[in-house]
């Protein structure tokens, strides 16, 4: 029981990160029907910018306030990168078919990865230790580091904010309208380009938040770290029903928990295989994912 609880918490922390990254995939897919393959790299960029700001501003000993500041800064900068990415790599190709955009996305991903390698170096970089408290809580015999709770809570907070924004503001309604039907939304007087740009600001910002959190939690970041996390988060987005925001959150957290429990009770080496088998099973019975809706244009 104690070990189960411990593993559940391990899974929740990882799942929270997957969910934050998955939101970027799902939002872009929602409005553009495009898989933004460069999103994992934006996550890694967030991790690097967080570290750069942390050292440049000399905030390594600054506690939670400094961390929040760094988080916001990194989110802002990566949002800008996401905006530019859309303007340069996707908008000019918008009329030319989905495959073209996917190729462009892959190219952007390779570009970001190599640019990060050249700028920040091929070696793994390390966040300074002791930024967050090293306290460990004991709950029903399970050891829970305070950092994990803090980071899980912040990712949940960001997700709730996004959910509120999408469902309870006028701009959020515009985003939903564009994802339902771009043409009709345009006829209703919605500036579709603005909405798409907005999505490319929000998604990457959330990815950057996940990147900084990963850096703080695990300490070590590397220019190619976005590949594996991107793949997992993309899977989570599909698991939850791509295009669906609560689905991405649920999918991410579920994937994290399945992985942790699979490692605990079946086999560590087969952890990913188990998670992906489950994904296939879910997609066989619910082809649109857990919370996805069946729509006419989905194949």
């Amino acid at each position: 029981m104690q070990e189960f609880l411990q593993q559940l918490i391990n899974g929740l922390a990882v799942g929270g990160l997957y969910a934050l990254i998955a939101l970027g995939y799902t939002m872009v897919y929602g409005v553009l029907k495009l898989i933004n393959f460069a999103h994992g790299e934006l996550f890694a960029l967030g991790a690097y910018l967080g570290l750069t700001l942390l050292t440049a501003l000399g905030l390594a000993g600054g506690g939670p306030a400094a961390v929040a500041l760094i988080l916001l800064f990194a989110m802002g900068l990566v949002a800008l990168a996401g905006y530019l990415l859309e303007r340069v790599a996707y908008r000019p190709l918008r009329g030319s078919g989905r495959l073209t955009a996917v190729v462009s996305a892959l190219g952007a991903s390779i570009f970001f990865q190599n640019a990060m390698m050249l700028v920040f170096g091929a070696k793994a970089r390390v966040y300074p230790g002791g930024i967050l408290s090293g306290e460990v809580f004991t709950l029903l015999g399970a050891q829970i580091p305070a950092t994990r709770i803090l980071l899980l809570a912040s990712s949940l907070l960001l997700m709730l904010l996004l959910y509120w924004f999408i469902h309870h503001t006028r701009t959020g309604a515009a985003v939903r309208a564009v994802s339902l039907d771009q043409g009709a939304a345009r006829l209703m007087g919605i500036d579709v380009n603005r909405v798409i740009s907005l999505v490319f600001l929000i998604g990457p910002a959330l990815g950057a938040a996940a990147g900084v959190m990963a850096g703080l939690l695990y300490g070590q970041i590397k220019y190619d770290m976005g590949v594996l996390y991107g793949l997992k988060a993309f899977t989570a987005a599909i698991l939850g029903g791509i295009g669906n925001i609560p689905g991405a959150m649920a999918g991410g957290i579920l994937l994290g928990v399945i992985e942790a429990l699979g490692a605990a009770y079946i086999s560590i080496a087969w952890k990913d295989a188990i998670a992906f088998c489950l994904l296939i099973l879910i997609l066989i019975f619910r082809p649109t994912g857990l919370l996805g809706e069946r729509t006419a244009d989905k194949v």
Binding site: Q7, A13, V14, V126, G129, V136, Y218, G219, V227, I268
Partner: protein, 374 residues
């Protein structure tokens, strides 16, 4: 269609290039290294180190009166890109090649070089089977995994652990070393292996694995993977307030381990060929000082230094026998004895493996330094 003449030229290139060595010109030495991909930091150190050696050599007049040109190709840390890179090196007409690092990556290049008759000296590829294929022109300056497995089993016996966990990462190298160690430990009755499994490299979160291990309760963990994962494991073990001795293989011999794990690295032990700093020859010390002056840091690990040794023995062979690959291979097999390399004395046996006892046990001290355990 416009590209046709260009393509025709490209297909001709290998022939043009293979004619080149007969003309007087620089002596070409190929370097196959992971300049990109997961092993990029090792590869870039390899390139830096070998370039510096070549520069020093050329300043001293080169080899047999000609300057040395290092022809670098990126293996991308992956077998497929390594095969392409190897083909490019063949096309550029190098008689000898230094590299590469990963065992699986080297394996993808072996046949290509063998077919072209090129002498290859791998530098970090410790998988046993690489030298078991009967390739006459394949050598390595690093030791083999079974040797390391033997030392790992001895070390565990020496430290007196009775119940141990073995963790690898499913790579050719880590799995080979894990299997070899498990076999030796079992056969000699050194300890009980109560856990044996693999983690997924490149992940950041190993808390699920560590939680499981903690439940099983080994006296020590033998981790045979790479330093990034070892560092993360140590760091997350400390986060969990779980202190169990961890012992690693030679791929954890990298200062990055201490950077990642911080204080949690204290007491971590690993088996590795002697570090550059522990080799007490004047030549090695002088060279490392020059390296420090040029690049403002020492090589991150022993592996780039082994690439330097491969370069040095090739130069030695070219000095003695010219640039004919067959003659170079013969010289390395039969005549090169106790060559003073940066990592100690170098000789090769009939299969191309390096001869001699290379492994030492190291421990990380409280300041994060790697200290030789006598």
């Amino acid at each position: 269609m416009k590209k046709l003449p260009f393509l025709a030229l490209l297909t001709l290139l290998p022939f043009l290039a293979s004619a080149a060595p007969s003309l007087a010109g620089p002596v070409k030495i190929g370097l196959l290294a992971p300049l990109t991909g997961p092993f990029a930091s090792e590869g870039q150190d390899m390139k830096n180190l070998v370039s510096l050696l070549a520069e020093e050599l050329n300043r001293a007049g080169g080899v047999n009166g000609s300057p040395v040109e290092v022809v670098v190709e990126d293996d991308g840390s992956a077998p497929r890109s390594a095969a392409n890179a190897a083909n490019r090196l063949v096309a550029r007409g190098v008689p000898v090649v230094v590299g590469t690092y990963g065992s699986a990556v080297t394996e993808a290049s072996q046949e290509i070089f063998a077919e072209a008759g090129i002498v290859q000296i791998a530098t970090g590829s410790t998988a046993i089977r690489l030298t078991a294929k009967g390739l006459e022109r394949f050598f390595r300056t690093c030791p083999r995994d079974d040797e390391q497995g033997r030392v790992a089993a001895e070390t565990i016996a020496r430290l007196g652990f009775r119940n141990i966990a073995i963790l690898h990462d499913n790579s050719v190298y880590a799995k080979g070393l894990a299997e070899e160690s498990r076999e030796r430990i079992r056969r000699k009755g050194v300890a009980n292996v109560i856990f044996y499994d693999a983690l997924q490299p490149n992940e950041r979160d190993y808390s699920a694995i560590l939680t499981k291990l903690k439940g099983i309760g080994p006296e020590a963990i033998l981790f045979t993977g790479y330093y990034t994962e070892a560092g993360l494991l140590l760091r997350q073990m400390a986060e969990m307030r779980w202190s169990v001795p961890m012992i690693g293989g030679d791929a954890t011999n990298n200062v990055g381990l201490v950077e990642i794990a911080g204080k949690a690295a204290t007491g971590y032990r690993f088996i590795s060929p002697a570090l550059p700093a522990d080799i007490d020859t004047p030549a090695a010390r002088a060279f490392l000082a020059a390296y420090q002056a040029e690049y403002k840091t020492l090589p991150g690990s022993i592996w780039p230094v082994l690439a330097g040794d491969a370069f040095n023995v090739l130069v030695e062979a070219i000095k003695a026998r010219g640039t004919d690959p067959g003659a170079i291979a013969g010289y390395l097999h039969k005549e090169l004895r106790d060559f003073e390399g940066l990592t100690g004395k170098i000789s090769f046996d009939y299969s191309g493996d390096r001869v001699g006892d290379l492994y030492r046990l190291y421990e990380v001290d409280a300041e994060g330094r790697f200290v030789l355990v006598p």
